[in-house]
Amino acid sequence: MTGADLTIVRGKKTVGQRILGVFNNSIVNVVFVLVALFWLVPSVGLLLSSLRTVGDSASSGWWTVFTEPTQLTLENYAALLSNDTITGSFWNTILIAVPTTFFVVLFGSLAGYAFAWMEFPGRDWLLIAVIILLAVPIQVGLIPIARMFGALGIFGSILGVVLFHIAFGLPFAIFLMRNFFTQIPSELLEAARLDGASDLRIFLTVIVPLGVPAIASLAIFQFLWTWNDMLVALIFSNSQSQPLTVAIQSQLRQFGANIDVLSTGAFISMIIPLIVFFAFQRYFVQALLAGSQR
């Protein structure tokens, strides 16, 4: 095709085609670089704030370090990491976040499979009811669940915090898994069913392997939400079972912006989620390659 032909063809393209046509790779690259830079500004601000003293933060903006790099200090990190409450609460956070994530993913996928591929009366209405539960604000649960846990004797325990998180994580998990599983080509399931496979078997050998990208993203977000939760933990844990967020909260001074503690705490508590993200990243990429190689 000659250049002249090309322009003629282009000329006939719809508006949408032209918009997408403009997105050639180098422009995409430039735009993405700009987006990434903008997106980084708050994080960089937070990072630099964690590396400055509280006095510096109160009197000048964090970008001052670019002209006065001597302001940088690790003393905020030293202060938080030498604190036994903080280091001790790391383990509690893991004890809360890992089981929560595991059970949300497990129960969510089981239910998601049932909603996607099984037929039973009232299925869609039940699903809609579950989605409506997404809208229940966590604050609504505090008092009634505190009563219930008090009666059951699990108030203040890690178990209570975990149960609370699982329950409030499930509506999203079910919704996501159900919608994701409906994407799976039906021939695959029919073939397995004709082979006489049980539902459990289909779930384990067909659905779960194909659902890995969704499971990975659900897991990472559920993990993050649980990891970063403060409200539930503040009320349902006690001094022995408190996670990192509550421990950091207890380091805040009254009447301060507390930017030093909050920014440092944010980066300390971000380490594990970012490691988890990298770990799960493999699965997104793997699935991507599998798809494009076919």
Partner: protein
């Protein structure tokens, strides 16, 4: 529609070719198995999420302490409070703006992600805000949008850009010494009465820091004598460091203010002549015809530089909070949609491309429909999430714009825990929140119906 979106339910009913007689029993079996798959989730949801709704419904009919049944009083009170309507209005703005923005950004990022080599790094950058606690995210946004350009990076950037185009005046914020016969109008400092050639007009100024006046400034001196076509005078800082002295008098320790433009304004408002003060603060306007003039120090001597935008004020506060929300949640949309994208069968797209379909066609006719289940999850989740938005609205606005930024979840928290301790009214607000979700459910009901009818 596309192949994989075929309703799963039909597949399951359609499979029972040989054993038609046992259809009823197989249905029952199916139901039992479904129940087993659903049991753990439904049990937890029922006990820990549905039960609080029932509790909330009951609680909303009782008074603040929970001891007395009050019927619909809480609902009446809810709808007679201004703050409820502000909250509903803000929630509507949120629902219209935030989910669409996040989803579209997420979709663009996810779809174009495989065009760039550093996709992983990009994903990480967009994802990172999700890993930052809401409290820290709120604090950093509040910091970034502070009005003071020394502390808020956004205004610092605006002021920085602005200063390339305009010069800052030498004496921003200067004011006149009270009772010195001077007036201030629109930033211009002027003599109160008319001044005639051959006389003097002095300007004792205050409100200028001793350490911010130019280095060449010297001890203020009495004005030189004025010729018949001249007006003279002195402009000086009428403050002695450490206090003391007589107000309005030129004395030892008071500094002249050099470089100030002084205009002689004629009756018709035109500038007849002008001069500039010297190191001792003296000026001398010459060449004036007979008549009376107003002696004015134009506002350009005293204007404050551009000070940036009042982001956290009542008008813009919701926009700033929504921006912070998009910063956090676009990563969610991107990761979700990317994972949906990675699971779909690429062979269809490849085949379509082979057949000469344009990229746009491939996207609209193949990719988007295949992605729609995930996009719907993201969109609906964001709508619901935005309806119950709490943390960011709780953290970012300064107290004075809190009422303007109010949303239902914050109102509910404030009423039931944050001071009011009125859980009856709080429960009514929580139910209002649940009811507001229903319209977004209609999207889903329609979709399920479509699936069924296919």
């Amino acid at each position: 529609m596309t192949q994989s979106a075929v309703a799963p339910a039909e597949t399951s009913t359609g499979r029972g070719g040989p054993g038609r007689s046992s259809r009823a029993s197989s249905r029952r079996r199916m139901f039992l198995i479904a129940l087993i798959f659903l049991a753990p989730a439904l049990l937890l949801l029922g006990a820990l999420v549905a039960y609080p709704i029932v509790y909330t419904v009951v609680r909303s009919f009782f008074d603040a302490s929970g001891g007395q049944f009050v019927g619909f009083d809480n609902y009446v009170e809810m709808f007679t409070r201004d703050s409820t309507f502000t909250a509903i209005r803000n929630n509507i703005i949120w629902v219209i703006v935030a989910p669409v923005t996040c989803t579209i950004l997420g979709l663009i990022f996810a779809v174009l992600l495989d065009r760039i080599r550093w996709a992983t790094a990009f994903k990480l950058i967009i994802f990172m805000p999700m890993a930052i606690s809401m409290l820290a995210a709120g604090v950093i946004f509040r910091m970034m949008f502070q009005e003071n350009p020394n502390l808020g990076v956004v205004n610092a950037a605006l002021v920085g850009i602005n200063s390339w185009f305009t010069d800052e005046s030498a004496y921003p914020g200067a004011n006149v010494r009270a009772d010195s016969g001077l007036i201030v109008q629109g930033g211009t400092i002027a003599s109160d009465g008319a001044v005639e050639p051959g006389t003097e007009q002095n300007f004792p100024l205050v409100g200028i820091r001793a350490d911010s006046i130019p280095e060449e400034a010297a001890q203020a001196e009495e004005p030189g004598s004025a010729g018949s076509d001249e007006i003279t005078g002195t402009v000086w800082l009428d403050v002695i460091r450490g206090g003391g002295g007589e107000n309005g008098e030129i004395e030892d320790g008071k500094s002249g203010l050099p470089g100030i433009r002084v205009d002689a304004v004629a009756d018709d408002g035109s500038i007849a002549a002008s001069a500039e003060t010297d190191a001792e603060g003296q000026y001398q306007i010459t060449g004036l015809a007979d008549g009376s003039y107003t002696i004015a120090l134009p506002a350009s001597n005293f204007t404050q530089g551009y000070q940036g935008v009042n982001w956290l004020g009542e008008t813009l506060i919701t926009a700033v909070i929504i921006l912070s929300y998009v910063w956090i949640w676009a990563g969610f949309a991107m990761i979700m949609i990317a994972s949906g994208l990675s699971a779909i069968d690429r062979s269809l797209q490849e085949a379509a491309r082979m057949d000469g379909a344009s990229e746009w066609k491939v996207f609209t006719k193949i990719t988007a429909p295949l992605l729609s289940p995930v996009i719907i999850v993201v969109f609906v989740t964001l709508i619901i999430n935005v309806l119950k938005i709490f943390d960011l609205v709780y953290v970012i606005p300064p107290g004075s714009s809190k009422p303007a930024a109010n949303v239902i979840a914050v109102e509910m928290w404030t009423v039931s825990f944050g001071g009011g301790n009125n859980q009856g009214l709080g429960s009514a607000l929580a139910l209002l929140l649940l009811i507001l979700v229903l319209p977004s459910m209609i999207i889903n009901v329609r979709r399920f119906r479509e699936e069924r009818s296919r």
